[in-house]
Amino acid sequence: MSSVATKPVPAAEASDGSKSSEEEETSIGRQAGRSALETGANEKKQARDLVYAIVENQRGVLHRISGMFRAKGFNITSISIGESSSPDLARMTIVPKGDEAALQLLVKQLQKMIDVIEVGTIRPADAIERELALVKFETRDMKSKNEILELSNNLGARAVDVSRDSLVVEFTATPERIDYFINEASKSGAIKEIVRTGLTALRKGL
């Protein structure tokens, strides 16, 4: 198991999704991505597995699940939710925080919920992990604009909105690559806004 650092550029298919949180805490992207759902407790050991849940796609489900996290004191790094292969089911991907025991309790509490049809964990080695980020830069000169465009091009990100003094870049990648992009690009232009979807994942193969 190798810990993925923020530098150099992580491989597109990072074999290990474990996050060394101390380093990432300094990156703008991580902080922005986390602020909505975490309560800020720092734990010693990071659970490495991702949790997915197939849930009833109906009113109030997100409220129940987020309420359970709050009531039981679970901290999470991110949660993403969207429709799944069936329109009456939604799929959530949760990046938990805390140790192995906390992960086990979280999975059991999710299983206990009546709206939750299926819960599973995905080991990072088996996971295809992606996150989408939109990053808006203030680019007062052509030099900085070109630098960001070049970086985007090299990493596989793309500019989706360009105006005289601003630039919006869309980047779908692993969280580590997004962190890297944000970190590097911020040297070339002032970041005005960031939005990240949180991690979503599927298990490789059938």
């Binding site: 129940r64 206990k112 919920m113």
Partner: protein, 564 residues
């Protein structure tokens, strides 16, 4: 599947669906947003029991459910009616009691507009219910009710809320009444894994000092006979949690009584000597374990519970078995019968009998003087073993746990999880509705009884006679005890000054009020209450200085128990 299709209003569907579930009693209070339901209720066979505050309706439904082991049903209007139910719903949730709480809601067209008496009760109640429904299509009401009863009563039971907007109550629809419902995300495991049972038995048979810790799950699954049979087969002493008090005859030679903060001395001492602990239907609450890291740290613990999320939640265990307590105990017993060999545990039998006797001798009770202890010992003498007993919360509750032995299993009910003062009296009324031919008695203190005394109106007017014994120390006694022990007797906010006069209060409600000054008078008053066809309130003055001991101070371990 047999399906009938008829055109009905939401309220009509609700009443019919409730009757289909066998709900023939409902505790409730009307209001603007549940009037259509009340109108249909008036035309039905369902017995409606009117309360004077919705919290009492929830506690009554709770008491009814504990005795009948079927979901209790309560009904309130929107807004304050619904929020008043919440304490009672939370009480049931913490004690895993099946309940279906029905609330009226403002019309769907007004939801979210901050309409008069609007409250997002689904949001409020979510953390304290197993599930909360808000049907907005009258055609879905029968399946919603069916699901609610199924969820409330199955697996680890608990309260379920159905919040029905007023326009859904009145709207008509072609309505089907399904015989069964399927909830794909809800499949509680009932039957324990055979291999796990065999593994558990291996551990138990090798034990030198085995002990059973029985929790409330034994009562919920009605496994009294299985528990006794297994304990006797294994010659294994049985301690309980407080929630499990009375799931095992406390006068049985193998009984040790409850462990915990105010547990029996012998139970708290002996559980630390066990080498194998079979814990059934318990969540290892802090009240039972004391400081959990020091709770049976070297003992091999087997944990049986129907709720998988309880395994390793509070206490890391050596073997977790998911299953219904009754089914699991039966499987263990059957597996035991198939095997013959086991370790000799004669030494252990002698040891626990010796500790038990010496601990029982630590109590010196002067039966000629009134004290909490003498009152409860006398009560046990006078009260028939099949009488149902509820308690309030505080000193009276802990004294009852320590000094009132439950003889017939499953006849003792208390708010053990949430610790809701005022629970005992309305719960006693609910219990009496479920078992009208049995005596029902609430062991109370003045502070707790004060909180829900308005249930006297229901008891008198609906002819539901129960007995309330108020051990009156004119104090919020447990808080006073803590202020005495931990705050250098700086009493603040605990003196109640003997107000109100409970005899006069009883009379004001047309009930029977009796004040007694001696143990003999007390015994006579109980006998009078047992014969009475109206509620009997017995006010018995006790010392404001009497403490509850033993005491395991929160944050300390069972071994640090203060005996006196």
């Amino acid at each position: 599947m047999k399906i009938q299709v008829v055109k009905l209003s939401g309220s009509q569907s609700l009443i019919k669906a409730l009757q289909n579930e066998g709900a023939n009693v409902l505790f409730g209070m009307p209001g603007g947003a549940n009037l259509p339901i009340y109108d249909e209720l008036s035309k039905s066979e369902i017995r409606h029991i009117l309360v004077r505050h919705e919290q009492l309706a929830a506690h009554m439904a709770d008491g009814f459910a504990r005795v009948s082991r079927r979901p209790g049903v309560c009904l309130a209007t929107s807004g304050p009616g619904a929020t008043n139910l919440v304490t009672g719903i939370a009480t049931a949730y913490m004690d895993s009691i099946p309940m279906v709480a029905i609330t009226g809601q403002v019309a769907t067209t007004s939801i979210g507009k901050d309409a008069f008496q609007e409250c997002d009760i689904v949001g409020v109640a979510s953390p304290v219910t197993k599930y909360a429904f808000q049907p907005t299509d009258p055609a879905t009401i029968p399946s919603t009710v069916k699901k609610a009863f199924y969820i409330a009563a199955s697996g680890r039971p608990g309260p379920v809320l159905i919040d029905i907007p007023k326009d859904t109550q009145t709207a008509e629809a072609e309505t089907q009444f399904p015989d069964t419902v399927r909830i794909r995300g809800y499949n509680p495991v009932v039957v324990p894994d055979t291999l796990q049972i065999e593994k558990a038995l291996d551990i138990i048979l090798k034990a030198e000092r085995p002990m059973i810790l029985a929790g409330g799950g034994v009562a919920i699954s009605g496994a009294y006979a299985e528990l006794q049979a297994l304990a006797e087969a294994l010659m294994c002493p049985v301690a309980t949690t407080f929630k499990g008090k009375g799931v095992f005859n406390e006068t049985h030679p193998l009984a040790l009584g409850p462990i915990g903060m105010h547990g029996h001395i012998e139970a708290n001492r002996l559980i630390l000597e066990a080498d194998v602990l079979l814990a059934v239907g318990t969540r290892f609450s802090d009240r039972s374990t004391g400081k959990v890291s020091d709770f049976v740290p070297k003992t091999t613990v087997i944990h049986i519970d129907i709720d998988p999320s309880e395994i390793n939640k509070n206490k890391a265990v050596d073997l977790g078995i998911v299953g219904d307590v009754k089914a699991s105990l039966r499987a263990l017993l059957e597996a035991f019968m198939r095997r013959a060999r086991r370790n000799e545990i004669k030494k252990w039998s002698e040891r626990f009998q010796e500790v038990k006797e010496s601990c029982r001798n630590e109590w010196h009770v002067d039966m000629s003087k009134i004290s909490a202890i003498s009152v409860l010992k006398k009560l046990r003498e006078v009260l028939p073993p099949d009488a149902l007993v509820t308690t309030e919360v505080g000193q009276c509750q802990m004294w009852a746990s320590l000094h009132f032995d439950v003889i017939e299993p499953g006849t003792f009910y208390s708010s053990t999880g949430l610790g809701t003062m005022g629970f005992g009296f309305p719960a006693a009324i609910g219990a009496k509705v479920a078992a009208p031919n049995r005596p029902v008695l609430d062991i109370a203190g003045d502070g707790s009884f004060n909180m829900t005394e308005a249930a006297l109106a229901t008891s008198v007017l609906d002819n539901i006679p129960v007995i309330v014994v108020i051990m009156n120390n004119t104090m919020l006694g447990m808080v006073a005890q803590w202020q005495r022990l931990f705050y250098e007797r700086r009493y603040h906010g605990v003196k109640l000054y003997g107000v109100p006069d409970f005899v006069k209060l009883a009379e004001a409600y047309r009930a029977q009020g009796l004040r007694v000054q001696s143990i003999d008078e007390f015994a006579k008053a109980i006998k009078l209450g047992l014969r009475s066809d109206i509620a009997t309130i017995i006010d018995i003055p006790i010392s404001p200085e009497e403490d509850v001991f033993p005491f395991v101070v929160p944050g300390t371990a069972l071994k640090d128990m203060i005996v006196a």
